[in-house]
């Protein structure tokens, strides 16, 4: 049963991150996901200090607020004439530093472990169960992640057309009257929500990987957004299952090996993808060479 819950948790993380990751990659904002996943730390720390418990809902709220603050600050600096990547770097390092200080100042009396925040402890997911009316309803993390996935699915499903247009051609989207800024912040809000929900179980670094790597792999495999979304989710689930068994086999960190599997899948797609892989490119070049040059 433990295997099942861990893989389910990983797959839920992978699914919601995979969907959002596709949009992030298309909008060339992959590193904003990285920034958000680091800078929600002070939000978590503050929520923890206020409530004094690991109450998931409050943490979720605090962290989402900080996620949006991050996006807002990055945009503010960019409008002030700073390079995009430099402003990302400044904002997330500053917020992360605040978070680390908050936690280590109060480290003596709280049991919020920095390592746990960074790497997560997916192996313990099954012990922290949600009990409703005396019934054991399964791990709490699964419920939280399932809820997040539902929210993500609902938002993307309802506004699929709008998101698609904003991702590919923001100028056209603005011209036909779609509130581009609103959708930008909606997307960012969803990213922070799922980052935070995934945090406790899989850790900050794995979240970044899950946001970017499966979506990039899918990007190499197809040219259609809808197919890309489906591929990205499937790849994410594959990573979490494969990563879990690999970790069990060589006795190591589950989160780390999930990302390693994702990396291997990416490498395979990079070389063998029928559309954009190295082999396909090479074959195409050979074919083109064989065709005689038209005389004109």
């Amino acid at each position: 049963m433990g295997d099942f819950w861990i893989i389910l948790t990983g797959s839920l993380v992978a699914a919601s991150c995979g969907i959002l990751g596709c949009f992030l990659i298309l909008r060339k904002m992959a590193l904003i996901g990285d920034a958000i996943s680091h800078s929600v730390l002070p939000g978590i720390a503050i929520a923890f200090l206020i409530s004094g418990s690991r109450d998931s809902f409050l943490m979720l709220l605090g962290a989402s607020v900080f996620g949006l603050i991050t996006v807002f600050l990055i945009q503010l600096l960019q409008r002030g004439g700073l390079q995009g990547d430099a402003s990302i770097g400044i904002v997330f390092t500053a917020l992360f530093a605040i978070g680390v200080i908050l936690i280590s100042r109060n480290a003596s009396n709280i049991d919020l472990d920095l390592d746990c925040v960074l790497f997560g402890e997916i192996a313990y997911v099954q012990w922290d169960t949600l009990i409703l009316n005396g019934y054991d309803m399964g791990p709490a993390a699964v419920w939280m992640l399932g809820g997040t996935l539902l929210v993500v699915l609902a938002a993307v499903g309802l506004f699929y057309k709008q998101f698609k247009l904003c991702a590919f051609d923001p100028a056209l989207a603005a011209a036909v009257g779609i509130p581009v800024a609103l959708f930008h912040y909606l997307l960012m809000g969803l990213v922070s929500l799922s980052t935070v929900a995934s945090f406790e179980s899989v850790g900050a670094i794995l979240v970044v990987g899950m946001l970017i790597v499966p979506a990039s792999t899918a990007y190499l495999l197809t040219d259609r957004l809808s197919t890309m979304l489906v591929y990205s989710v499937i790849l994410g689930v594959l990573c979490s299952a494969g990563g879990y068994y690999a970790a069990k086999w060589i006795d190591t960190s589950i989160a780390g090996s999930m990302i390693t599997v994702a990396g291997i899948l990416f490498l395979l797609a990079f070389i063998f993808s029928p559309l954009h892989g190295l082999v396909a490119r090479f074959a195409k070049r050979r074919r083109l060479k064989r065709v005689p040059m038209p005389l004109n």
Binding site: D34, A94, A97, V100, S216, G256, A262
Partner: protein
């Protein structure tokens, strides 16, 4: 003293990386160093800073190579490529690190120090090593300043001048890797990017000349290193890395607000002055077009 030299060195290198629009490369390299450190430990079985640095430098170079291959042989953009290398290398690093911890080697306790860094508890020999490397970096920068300047601003022209652009770029990259690896010891994996980016961006507010900017960035970096170490050693329970980063962020904020020419206050004064110059014209002509032009001028001064 170690953090002073470190701040100086990484500030100087950072101004080149920021100008070449590779700010987040530092972040990626820092994460990518982890597997190198772990492998160095697994192979040697001892905790020696020199060996760790060699391992980290090698895996950092592999990571930059990976980014280069991904961006040039597929349609994946630079940012996604950075993210992929960052997370995959780090994932491998975490796998290796837990493997080391599970193998029950009593010597491993220091490895997780690399996550957050602990400048205050460094040994004297480590400080010497860090200081020497930082000094070396600064020296190379000073010697090759003219070449680096050309390569950063106009690689095409540099090539026309007969400079070996590829070699210089590789050298700059290698120096970035070294600066990052040294920085990890002091402030940890996550925050080392700030050492490179923040002082350089703050210095950019004050000057348009590269020479001045590089010196300023070095000074800012050194200043925040000293402030961070002082604060964290006087107050208990304060880790050095985050305090250093926050002090350089405050330097950045001060620069962003009051720097002459680019700061918020200077811009505001400029805008008021513009309006005063243009206002009489609007009153005499009073057309919509002029109003629009005022808006355009204001926007262009921003």
């Amino acid at each position: 003293m170690g953090s002073l030299l470190l701040g100086l060195g990484s500030g100087v290198i950072g101004s080149f990386t920021v100008l070449r629009k590779q700010s987040l490369l530092g972040d990626t390299l820092a994460h990518a160093a982890l597997p190198g450190i772990c492998i160095a430990f697994m192979l040697s079985g001892v905790k020696s800073m020199g060996l760790f640095m060699i391992g980290a430098i090698i895996s950092g170079m592999i990571a930059t190579l990976g980014i280069h291959i991904i961006t040039s042989f597929s349609r994946i953009k630079q940012d996604a490529a950075l993210g992929i290398t960052l997370s995959v290398f780090f994932g491998v690093g975490v796998v290796l690190m837990t493997k080391i911890q599970h193998s029950g080697n009593g010597n491993q306790s220091g490895l997780d120090k690399y996550m957050f860094g602990q400048a205050a508890s460094m040994m004297l020999s480590d400080v010497y090593l860090m200081g020497t490397v930082s000094l070396l970096l600064i020296l190379i920068c000073a010697l090759l300043f003219k070449e680096f300047k050309l390569v950063s601003f106009d690689p095409g022209f540099a090539r026309g001048m007969g400079l070996k652009v590829a070699v210089l770029e590789q050298l700059l990259l290698l120096m970035t890797v070294v600066a990052v690896v040294v920085g990890i010891q002091a402030v940890g994996v996550v925050l080392v990017a700030a050492l490179l980016i923040t002082p350089a961006v703050a210095a950019r507010y004050w000057s348009d000349a590269l020479g001045v900017m590089v010196i300023l960035a070095g000074l800012f970096g050194a200043l925040s290193g000293v402030i961070g170490t002082l604060i964290s050693s006087t107050l208990s329970n304060l880790p050095t890395g985050p305090v250093t980063v926050l002090s350089s962020t405050s330097i950045f904020f001060v620069s962003a607000v009051c720097a002459p020419g680019r700061g918020l206050i200077a811009k505001w004064i400029q805008r008021v002055r513009n309006r005063r110059v243009i206002q009489p014209n609007i009153e005499s002509v009073g057309t919509h077009a002029v109003l629009q032009r005022t808006a355009a001028v204001e926007r262009s001064t921003e």
